[in-house]
Each structure stands twice: as structure tokens, then as C-alpha cells.
């Protein structure tokens, strides 16, 4: 069944307050257990041998010497995994080509990127396992490689997949291509729109791959028993999805794999898909020992999915009075070694902040010799929006309009027809723009060499499959068993708050936990900003079910009709003066009697949550540019965002600040650096430069609350939106400070200095 619960405005006791998170004490005392913190007696250590080549045919793999090494208990290669058909399969709500999944997990015919797994060993100690890897002989035939997306699209570029023909073009192409898929979105007549424009701005942009940069490397522990059952402990954004993927590639029955999610040390989309999990189960099966596999930081960078690098072309037309007449974009996204970049979502997000008659967006999904891309917070949107919001800013300048004013003139609102499908419902975009314009930051004075930039972002937010159970314990305390991972935003706290609000009891009486895959039905990933929306809806349904059962129980105990029993502030009491009167019963009293009056009381929900409400954000940033070194310093930052309703405002602020900080890193210094040989040169935190504390200013937040009509508390979601705008906002601020329009991310000191020098030279 697909479910929505409508928003009801009501006086709130808990929702909107800031109680302490249930995982807090364990996390500050070191007691919280993350992926690498789990151990089983008799466990082996699993390690992966990775391709040193960006593109190579694997002629042979000789594991005999490794197997002969004392302490080595098992080795797996491509031979140990079944071939999967080349077709899209919907598994765990994700649409995946398992031919690709098996090949990404373990190379088959070819190694397609530096870091591509080619073999894995399980041994008694890490040093033995490492030694064993060195003894595996792989005979490679090195092939020409391609990483840059524009080069990969050229005819004659090295082909990753000899039988890949571009989808979405008619007639079907005759030649194989690295372009896996072409998408086109649009409405109206773009040519006519540009003809009607007084001013046209057209620019080309490029971005490098960046990594999610979670601090906890992927880690898992697998135990396969001879009876065909497997247990898996892993750091994941979706233990049900991981179970589904492992079952498919290992050809096991889903119910025979039990996945227990550990605390997750950051994911941001990077822990949506399996890497070592199926290898660990396979090694455990082969060795008949538990197998623990923890990635090194270098493996995380070389082997797991960063974002696409991209080439983006944007063209915008507007009339002198500031109405956009036409908008066009081409998005060419790296997919990595296998198809499936987020170019479709990026295409849909590119212009969806504006009310446009004539739009055309073309997206290309391009395979290149880099790790398969993974989701990263609003997948693809920041890349498209960097281009679009830069051009919006330039257009505002050309028209002599304040950038927020120009956006307001064209802002999307309820009823705006999108170019990807539906009309927008109730949204808060205009409210975020107005709040930003009213913020003191927007009118504050700037210092020398400083500039201010603005940019905005849109994300759909989603719902999807969600389950939970709510058990009333014998003393009236409650256990809320959730199936959707708390990826650290604090969703466990938010769920408990909604349950306590519904039941009218203290927050502390509800203990939220995330159950393993054997305790609940399927849940989708925590991704797309769905957790507080969808899991919240499920928690509310379970709570209302519990209240209903409590009322029924009291009606029986007090021998009054059900209608006579109302539920208020944690107790059952007479509905009103006219109804049958009885002595009120508290939740605790009912719970104590439950066993003797028909059994324990519980509620549960198994839903496919629908009705997610789009989120919008407006960012303001001040930068200071060192004209002699090209260094860009972020001096002030403000995030304004419509989250629908902030269940726990402090944790919502945390999402906004964290997303902005990641966006700042993306803008300034983060990038994958490849050598001519296609080998990643900066697979570590020293040269892959995520922001440190001293790089960042305070990040002010303004929470806008335009309730989502399709959630009982009006929740939209908040995790994705804040990473979308920073890149564009910072580019716009640098332009404001220097007059230079930077179109190549990152805006690193050498890039900025080069641009400053070129401009100076041009002036003469």
C-alpha cells in the first residue's frame, strides 16, 4: 500500500524542541560500535588486491602461491561469482544492472579503473593477508584508458564496454560508445524563447570528481555457517538494500542473510551500495571462518564511488525587465566504470527553482576509467546548479538587477509547471529568498578584496518503503524499532519525539533503535532526504495504532463504549461530560495490566511513503581573495532553507551546516587528481583536502518552515539541499570580489591566480 498522512496544524509539546539524542552518550564515551568495532572469535582478516592499471584486460590470475602461504584460508576471484545477465533489475527499490554490480565488486574480463578489485584473500592476520596479496600473480594486458568526460564522448575514444550502445537516441547507434544513455527533458519552444530574449548568457563549466569523504572507511564482518545462513555486520545507509544485493550476487535466499547495521561513521550516499560485503560472505563461506574486512583510506579513495566529474553548458535568455524567456543546458556526467551517473536527477534539478516557459536539458551518462560513481548528497544537483546559478548571477548583473530580486522575478511557486513532469505543490522557495534578503548578512559591509555571492538549490526529497514497530513494555515505556538507518543526523531522536508527541508522554520514555533485517520488513536506504519524512510517517502510524489499541483495552477494562474513551497527555479519560464516565488510566497502568487483559500492546507500520515535499535553500557567502596567491577565504556564510518542519531544530541546523561545509570543500580544494597513467595521485586526506576547522567560519542558519501538506508534522527533509548551492554561491562571490567568472571547479589558488593574472594581462 502507498501511504500519505495529511498535515494537521496543532499545538506541539515536543516537536520543535531540542532534547538529547539517544546515541549521544555512547558516542562521547567510545562505547558506540562502528563497522570496524565488531569482532568474532576465530575471525579472519580479509584484504583486497586491486588493479594498478586504469584499464587492462585480465589474461590470467594465479593464486596458488598465496593459497600455499601458511595462515591463508581462502582466496576469491572472478571465478567465485556467478555471471549475471545484462539487464536492469529492481532490487531493494534500486534499479541496478547486476552484470555491472558483480564486475564492480570483482573485475572479470577487464580491470576498468585504478583500484578495481581483482582478488580477495582471508588470512589469520592482517600481515599474512597483505603478504598473500603480494603473492597473487595477475597477468594484465594494459589498454588505453580515458577519464575526461569530453574525451570519452569522442568517437575513437578508448571503449570501456565494447557492446555498449547509447540508449535514448533514435535510430539505435551503429557504433558502440562510452555514452551509455542520453536523456532529454524540456517544454515549450526554446528557439522562440531565445529569439524573444533581449540578453543571452552562455557559458561552459567543468567539475572534477569529489569524494563523500566520510571519516569511517567501509568496514564489515561476515559469518557464513555450513547450514547456508549468513550474518553480516556492516556500516551502511541501508541494511535491507545491502542484504538484497548480497543475496542476488551470492545467489542466496534473502531470508538466509541477516544484516545488522553498525553505527555509521558518515555516508552521504557513499554507503548506499555494497563493496566488500559480498566478498566477505564469500570468503567466510569458502574458509568456514568469520571474515572481517576494513578498507584503508587509500582503498576508500581508489575503490569506492566519488561523484561524477562533469562538463556543463548553460544558456539563458531574458528580457530587459528581468523575465527569463528560455533556458538550455547540456550535462555531460562521468558515470565511472559502469553506467548510472545521477545525470537524470541533475537534469531535473538544473532549472527547477524557476518558473520557465521554454526549457531544454540534455544529459549524457558517460562511462570512463574511474570508480563507478556513487550518490553524494543531492546526487548531481550541485554540479548542474554550479553552472545554472553562475549564469543566473551573470544575467542579473547584465540586467542591473539585485541577484535575489532577479530570482524572485522568476521564482517557482505552488502550481509552477516543471519541465520534468508535474506541477509543484506547496513550496517555500520564495520564502527562503525573502528571508535571505532580510538577513543582516545580505546588507553587511564588505572589506577590501571581499565579495558576496548568492545561489539557490532545489531537491525533490523522497519517501519509499519504510517499516517500524512500536512495543509498549510492561512498565509503559516504549521500544521503537526502526528499519531506516540513522545515518547520524539524529533521526532516532526525531522519531522518538514524534511518537512521544502522539502519545502525549515524555520523550525519555521512548527508546528508538534500528533493528536488524530479521526484525522488520524491507526499508529503503536512508537517502534522498527521506528518513525523517518516511520513517516519521511510519512512526506516527504505529503510534496512532497503539493509541487505538490502548483505547480499546481501556473500554474493555472500564466496561465503557470505545467512543467514550479519549486519549490525551498519556492517559485514557472520558471523551466528554456527556460520555460514560470512568477513572482515567495512564499508559503505565494499562501497560501493567496488559498481560492479564488480552496481551501486550504494540503498533507497527509497513508503508510505501508518498507525498514527499520538495525542499529549497538560499545561501549567502562572503569571500576574501588574496590577489597575490589566489587563495580564497570564506569569511561569512549563511544558509536559509525550507525544511517543512524542523522536528529537532539543532539537528536540522547540523545538516545545513554540514552540507554547506561539504559544498565549501567541493568549491575550493577537493578534486581527484589523476596522472597520465590514469592512476589516482591523491588517495589520502593529506592531498585530498577536505576543510579543516580553521578553514571555515561560523555557518549561520535560518530555518524556514512551510509545512509539507503530505506529512502529519509537515516534514519535507533537509539533508540534500544544503550541499547544492555552495559551489555556485562561492563562484558568484569570487566574481563579485574580483570581476572574474570562474567556470572550472575547484577554485583552488593556482586556478584563481591564473585567472587574476590573465585578466591583468588582458587589461595590459
Amino acid at each position: 500500500m502507498s501511504t500519505t498522512l495529511k498535515y494537521q496544524e496543532k499545538a506541539l509539546k515536543l516537536v520543535g524542541t531540542r532534547p538529547l539524542r539517544p546515541d549521544g552518550v555512547d558516542k562521547v564515551t567510545g562505547r558506540a560500535r562502528f563497522g570496524a568495532d565488531y569482532n568474532l572469535s576465530g575471525q579472519l582478516i580479509g584484504k583486497v588486491l586491486r588493479s594498478p592499471h586504469a584499464h587492462a584486460r585480465i589474461k590470467s590470475i594465479d593464486t596458488s602461491a598465496a593459497l600455499a602461504l601458511p595462515g591463508v584460508k581462502a582466496v576469491v576471484t572472478r571465478e567465485d561469482f556467478a555471471e549475471m545477465p545484462d539487464e536492469l533489475a529492481a532490487v531493494g527499490e534500486l534499479t541496478i544492472n547486476f552484470r555491472d554490480v558483480t564486475r564492480n565488486m570483482m573485475a572479470r574480463e577487464k580491470a576498468l579503473y585504478d583500484g578495481h578489485p581483482v582478488a580477495a584473500v582471508a588470512a589469520t592476520t592482517e600481515s599474512v593477508a597483505k603478504h598473500a596479496l603480494a603473492l597473487i600473480k595477475v597477468d594484465y594486458e594494459v589498454l588505453p584508458h580515458v577519464i575526461d568526460v569530453v574525451e570519452a564522448m569522442q568517437p575513437g575514444a578508448p571503449l570501456l564496454h565494447e557492446n555498449q550502445y547509447t540508449q535514448g537516441v533514435k535510430p539505435r547507434p551503429e557504433r558502440a560508445s562510452n555514452v551509455a544513455k542520453r536523456l532529454e527533458f524540456g517544454r515549450g519552444d526554446v528557439a522562440a524563447g531565445f529569439a524573444a530574449a533581449d540578453v543571452i548568457v552562455e557559458r561552459e563549466f567543468s567539475t572534477k570528481p569529489v569524494h563523500q569523504g566520510y571519516i569511517e572507511p567501509q568496514a564489515c564482518l561476515a559469518s557464513y555457517s555450513a547450514d547456508g545462513q549468513a550474518e553480516l555486520w556492516t556500516s551502511t545507509q541501508g541494511h535491507f538494500v545491502f542484504r538484497a544485493q548480497c543475496a542476488k550476487v551470492l545467489q542466496m535466499e534473502v531470508a538466509k542473510i541477516r544484516v545488522t547495521p553498525t553505527e555509521i561513521g558518515g555516508g552521504f550516499g557513499g554507503k548506499n551500495n555494497i563493496y566488500n560485503e559480498a566478498l566477505a560472505i564469500a570468503l567466510s563461506r569458502k574458509s568456514n571462518h568469520p571474515v572481517k574486512m576494513v578498507m584503508t583510506r587509500e582503498e576508500v579513495f581508489r575503490g569506492t564511488g566519488p561523484t561524477p566529474g562533469a562538463n556543463v553548458k548553460v544558456k539563458l535568455g531574458a528580457t530587459r525587465d528581468g523575465k527569463i524567456t528560455a533556458a538550455e543546458a547540456e550535462l555531460n556526467f562521468q558515470a565511472g566504470a559502469f553506467p548510472g551517473s545521477p545525470v537524470n536527477q541533475a537534469s531535473m534539478c538544473a532549472f527547477t527553482r524557476y518558473d520557465l516557459e521554454n526549457v531544454r536539458v540534455v544529459g549524457n551518462d558517460v562511462t570512463v576509467n574511474r570508480p563507478k560513481v556513487a550518490a553524494y548528497r543531492a546526487p548531481g544537483a550541485p554540479i548542474a546548479v554550479f553552472g545554472v546559478e553562475s549564469v543566473i548571477d551573470e544575467m542579473a548583473k547584465k540586467l542591473g538587477l539585485d541577484p535575489i530580486e532577479f530570482r524572485l522575478k522568476n521564482a517557482a511557486k505552488e502550481g509552477t509547471q516543471t519541465y520534468y513532469g508535474p506541477k509543484l505543490g506547496v513550496i517555500g522557495y520564495i520564502q527562503t529568498l525573502e528571508a535571505a534578503r532580510a538577513h543582516p548578512h545580505y546588507s553587511a559591509a564588505l572589506g577590501p578584496n571581499q565579495g558576496r555571492g548568492v545561489a539557490t538549490g532545489f531537491w525533490f526529497n523522497i519517501g519509499n518503503e519504510t517499516t517500524c514497530s512500536l512495543n509498549v513494555q510492561e512498565d509503559g515505556s516504549l521500544t521503537l524499532n526502526l528499519g531506516t538507518i540513522d545515518v547520524a543526523g539524529g533521526s532516532r531522536a526525531s522519531m522518538a519525539m514524534m511518537v512521544a508527541e502522539e502519545l502525549g508522554i515524555a520523550y525519555e520514555r521512548v527508546r528508538p533503535i534500528v533493528g536488524d533485517t530479521s526484525t522488520l520488513g524491507f526499508n529503503f536506504l536512508t537517502a534522498g532526504s527521506r528518513s525523517t519524512f518516511a520513517s516519521g510517517m511510519a512512526s506516527v502510524i504505529a503510534s496512532r495504532q497503539v493509541i487505538e489499541k490502548l483505547r480499546q483495552r481501556v473500554a474493555k477494562i472500564r466496561e465503557v463504549p470505545l467512543e467514550a474513551v479519549a486519549w490525551k497527555d498519556g492517559q485514557a479519560l472520558p471523551a466528554d461530560a456527556s460520555a460514560a464516565q470512568f477513572a482515567p488510566m495512564s499508559l503505565t497502568e494499562i501497560a501493567r495490566m496488559a498481560g492479564k487483559t488480552g496481551g501486550t500492546i504494540a503498533g507497527h507500520a509497513e508503508i510505501n511513503a508518498q507525498g514527499a515535499g520538495p525542499g529549497f535553500g538560499t545561501h549567502i557567502v562572503d569571500v576574501e581573495v588574496d590577489r597575490q596567491t589566489g587563495a580564497v577565504k570564506i569569511v561569512r556564510y549563511t544558509v536559509v532553507q525550507d525544511v517543512g518542519k524542523a522536528i529537532h531544530p539543532a539537528y536540522v541546523e547540523g545538516q545545513m551546516q554540514g552540507g554547506a561545509a561539504q559544498g565549501i570543500g567541493w568549491a575550493l580544494n577537493e578534486e581527484y587528481v589523476y596522472g597520465d597513467d590514469g592512476v589516482l595521485q591523491n588517495p589520502g586526506f593529506l592531498d585530498y583536502r577536505i576543510p579543516v576547522a580553521s578553514d571555515l567560519p561560523r555557518i549561520d542558519t535560518v530555518i524556514v518552515e512551510v509545512p509539507n501538506p503530505n506529512h502529519p508534522y509537515g516534514v519535507r527533509g533537509c539533508g540534500e539541499v544544503p550541499i547544492i548551492a555552495p559551489m555556485a554561491a562561492i563562484a558568484n562571490a569570487i566574481e563579485n570580489a574580483t570581476g572574474l567568472r570562474l567556470t572550472q571547479q575547484p577554485f583552488s589558488p593556482p586556478r584563481v591566480l591564473q585567472a587574476l593574472d590573465a585578466a591583468a594581462a588582458a587589461k595590459g
Binding site: 502507498s2 534499479t95 536527477q345 546526487p379 536506504l525
Partner: protein
């Protein structure tokens, strides 16, 4: 009959046909009818498509009712990070 609109990204699989009217009572029937009419669209329907019924987006909701006067739009499915 419900008014069905396909996102322009699906044009290559329907020989460019993006608007039609169908007598369908729910999403499952809609996908079935479309699949018969546009064989190339079949794979996408089952894997990569969400449906907006009167501007509310539904994902993986085969039994979602479609009213006779509903406006239905097929769009690309949405995931996230």
C-alpha cells in the same frame, strides 16, 4: 479517460509520442497498457519510472488508484544520497 503525459526523456521509447488518453484504474494497469503500446518502454516502466497523479509523485505504487479524470505524468524515478 485519464490524461497520460510522458516526460520528454521517454520520447525515444515511444517514437516521440508523449501524450495520450487511457482507460486505466491504477498504476499497474497504466504500465501494462503502455508496455503493450510501446514495447521499448517496457523495461523502463518496471525499473526507472515514477508517476505523478494530479501532481503528487508516487514511486513503486502499482496499486495507486487513477481516477477517470486524473492527469498522470510519467517521470524519471528519484533516489538520493
Amino acid at each position: 479517460m485519464a490524461r497520460i503525459t510522458l516526460a520528454s526523456s521517454l520520447a525515444p521509447y515511444t517514437d516521440g509520442e508523449l501524450e495520450l488518453r487511457l482507460e486505466v484504474a491504477n498504476v499497474r494497469q497504466l504500465f501494462q497498457a503502455l508496455g503493450e503500446r510501446f514495447p521499448e518502454l517496457q523495461a523502463h516502466l518496471e525499473t526507472g519510472i515514477a508517476v505523478a497523479i494530479d501532481n503528487e509523485i508516487y514511486q513503486d505504487a502499482l496499486l495507486q488508484p487513477i481516477a477517470r479524470d486524473s492527469e498522470v505524468i510519467l517521470i524519471e524515478k528519484i533516489a538520493g544520497g
